[in-house]
Amino acid sequence: MITVDGSLKARLAIWLLVTVSALGALLLVEAYLSSERAAERAYDSQLESAALTIAEAVQWEGGEPVVEVPAAALQILATRHQERVFYAVLDADGDIVSANLEMSIQPEWRRQVTERTVWMHVDNQDVDWRLHGREFDSAGWESQDPVQIWVGHTTEGRQSLTDELFEQAVTRFLAMVLLAGLLMLLTMRVALNPMRRLRRVLRQREADDMRPLDARVPEELRELAETLDSLFAHQRESRDALLRFTADASHQLKTPLAGLQSTSELALKSDQPDEWRRALEAVHSGAGRTSRLASQLLSLARLRHVADGSAMVRLDLVMLLRDTVMDWAQRDVASGHDLGLAELPDTAQYIHGEALSLRELIGNLIDNALSYTPPGSMITLGLVQHDRDVELFIEDDGPGVSPEALERLHQPFERGGRQDTEGSGLGLAIVDSIARRHDARLSLVPNTPQGLRVCIVFPLTAQEASP
């Protein structure tokens, strides 16, 4: 049965989507961070130049620094984003020389600035500020005290620059994903093309076309194509076998039918009741033979058809043999013979098998014995228990079969050189094919003092085999 389990395209697309999204998320985080860094760098350099501009404006009057903050410095700090700006100039003692806002510069920060220039984010009244502080050596004559210059602004400008840069990165990324998706669809179409081609080739085949495939396939589809090819080869073989078998069977059926036709034709020409009676008897036995042949052909065909071991179960051969022989002993065809069972083993003999076909096997053995021995012959079936297997046998005291004919007996339509009986030559072929399916060995040996003995040795199932 064919179950459709998703589509290849969907599966490819999902995998691609998952990997692209995971990768994309990482890329976006990295893009945001780098935008932020770029914005920080750009605005920090503004803070730096503002600080320098203020530093240049520092004057010394009587050993005290005096500063007139130039408008240019404030303009540098405040961009078009309307930031609030801050500046402070401190002398060496930390006193404010000039400042525009009440923002206290912590002593800790002042100490840091004496060592190196400082960049920091500060939270003042819930607003984020970026501060820059540095120390300038004073250029005065009388004093060598340094001055500290602090500048800062709020971060709206930085934020908007970051956003702008990030937006561009996202746009580029989305465009790439879209393009990749389109390319993927295109690639899948191209990659799956060989499958479509194979499908077309298969669809165009005639129902009875069993020739090997003629198609170009990529490496990945080679196995599938080869499997299909071997399937076709099997089908071809089994169809050929079937045709051969049907031809054989028709030929076999035609022979007794021709006999029926000629016998009845002759009888119709005659006006002697004795002739009619003889003809009717011939017709009766011919009809019996034909119908037996038909049912054997049917069972052989059925056995060949059901090739899997699905119906194999553990079963008791003793019980099965007794039932089957009982059934046959009561049939009309057996009434002229002495058909019986030898003493059977006391314990059950378990084998792995299929009850229906084993019955068929035993039935065919009995049927054969009945048709190839004269009325009154003794036919005995039995079981012999061995260590690991059990032997089913049937023996008769009929005329037997010559040693050279024994070899060929299990071929279909082989009658051991006899044309005088009701046999079709199919019985042992059926037996042989059932025995093979049960891993059993079939052997035919002359019976003493006369007659034929057919043995089939079945392996016992593991749990019943004696050690």
């Binding site: 009809a287 019996g288 119908s291 037996r292 049912s295 007794r322 022989v325 009982m326 002993a329 009561q330 049939r331 009309d332 009434s335 002495d338 058909l339 019986g340 069972l341 030898a342 003493e343 059977l344 229906l356 005995t380």
Partner: protein
């Protein structure tokens, strides 16, 4: 006895008629399910011989309808399909016996006789074959209407054989009836069988031995 034959092949229908009428039966033959179903609802039959592949439907559905009505008329199925599945399904649906085509008329006659006898026995609680009868309630056997005085084990044996009249009574079953489940000698049963054989001489009944299988009580010598 009144028999209903449902068979669409004219040749087979005619030979059934010719074989069964001389046995004292009246045959009504139909070729279609519908007509046969109507006939079954109108009148009483003692046995139905039913072909499965009919032109207007499957004979099995007719059988199913019959049994659903609670009609217990014995049914013998006749068919060219001899797969086990079909057989089991037919018997499950309430068929009493099954005969695969091709069949010999002798076999058909034997089956018909056995089915009719069985339904008769169900009716009057007596086991009969030919001139021999066994009353199961009284435990009395009679031959040609005369009481047959038999020792207990021979009576047991006779009842066992009559229960399976027409088919083989398995040896183990008879041994259990006669001797219980204990060990018995291999020819202990044979002794009683040959005694009973002597008593039945001249009655038209014989007991046939099936080597290793059992015994069959037979009517006349075929």
């Amino acid at each position: 006895m009144r028999l209903l034959v449902i068979e669409d092949d004219p040749l087979i229908a005619r030979s059934l008629d010719q074989a069964l009428t001389p046995l004292g039966n009246t045959i009504d033959a139909f070729t279609h399910c519908a007509e046969a179903g109507a006939a079954l609802q109108r009148g009483h039959f003692d046995l139905v011989i039913l072909d499965l592949g009919l032109p207007d439907g499957d004979g099995l559905s007719l059988l199913e309808a019959l049994r659903e009505r609670g009609d217990t008329t014995p049914v013998l199925i006749l068919t060219a399909r001899d797969g086990v599945d079909d057989r089991v399904r037919g018997l499950d649906l309430g068929a009493d016996d099954y005969l695969a085509k091709p069949f010999s008329l002798a076999e058909l006659e034997a089956r018909v006789r056995a089915l009719l006898r069985r339904s008769q026995q169900r009716a009057d609680n007596r086991l009969c074959l030919g001139a021999l009868c066994f009353d199961q309630e009284l435990g009395v056997a009679s031959l040609h209407g005369e009481r047959l005085d038999l020792p207990r084990r021979e009576l047991c044996l006779l009842e066992g054989l009559l229960l399976h009249a027409g088919s083989i009574t398995p040896r183990e079953m008879l041994e259990n009836r006669l001797f219980g489940f204990g060990e018995v000698g291999s020819n202990a049963l044979e002794v009683y069988v040959s005694r009973l054989r002597k008593r039945l001489q001249g009655s038209g009944l014989t007991i046939r031995t099936f080597r290793g299988l059992g015994y069959r009580l037979e009517e006349g010598v075929r």
